[in-house]
Amino acid sequence: MSAMTLVSTVTVGAGGAANIEWTNIPQTGKDLLILTSLRGTSGANARILPNNNSSNHTWLRLFGTGSSTGRSGPNANASNLQDIPNNPTSTANTFSNNSIYISNYTAAAAKSMLVDSVQENNATAAFQVISAITWNNTAAITSLVLQLDSNNFVQNSSASLYIIS
């Protein structure tokens, strides 16, 4: 039985996109994995919203900036992917690499998410981040919105959704 099935890959086209959304996610798996390559037209903050719901998110992160380390949180807002996409000041044609793992996405329980991320840049400043997110909602996840906080993901940003059984 295939345990890790690619469901969809989205590649942003020439106009850019503020959101990448998956709807009607099959409820046949156990976990979800989203692998992304992202760059924004402004800033580097984004969010992952199960069922397009921006409520009941809490998150915490550890990060390195290239010249220092830190932590932030716990936070209780939906901007739960801080310093994840490459920002527009990073080296041209570079994108961040990110992994978002969502466990037990169909369960009638709160959802845990684990984020692993690294920005790319030919300079000192590049964030490496691990984040823990809880979406305190017992609904099964049937859709996902990946959204930049402001403006767009640039062309050639991509996101792949896998269902893990």
Binding site: A17, T23, Q147, N151, N152, L161
Partner: protein, 82 residues
């Protein structure tokens, strides 16, 4: 003038491959909510940064007082003593 309405890509997984993806503009309500969320987050971040700055200022003051042999306030002592 170029249309700067933000767009979103929707992938409807109930549809067959090749028919799933559509690109549509964000609604006014979605744009309004994004702007509200951004404003709320910025306010939260500013408050957090102010708190960190205040803590750092207390630490600096505490270190200076230690060196000068002056008494620390309870807040300064709490920051230095583990």
């Amino acid at each position: 003038m170029a249309d700067t309405t933000p767009m979103k890509i929707i992938v409807d997984l109930s549809k067959p491959e090749g028919e799933r993806e559509s690109i549509v503009p964000l609604t006014k309500e979605e744009i309004r909510q994004r702007e509200l969320d951004i404003a709320n987050f910025k306010a939260e971040q500013e408050a957090r940064e102010a708190e960190e700055a205040a803590k750092e200022a207390l630490k600096v003051s505490a270190r200076q007082k230690l060196v000068a042999g002056e008494p620390l306030t309870p807040e300064e002592a709490a920051l230095l003593v583990l």
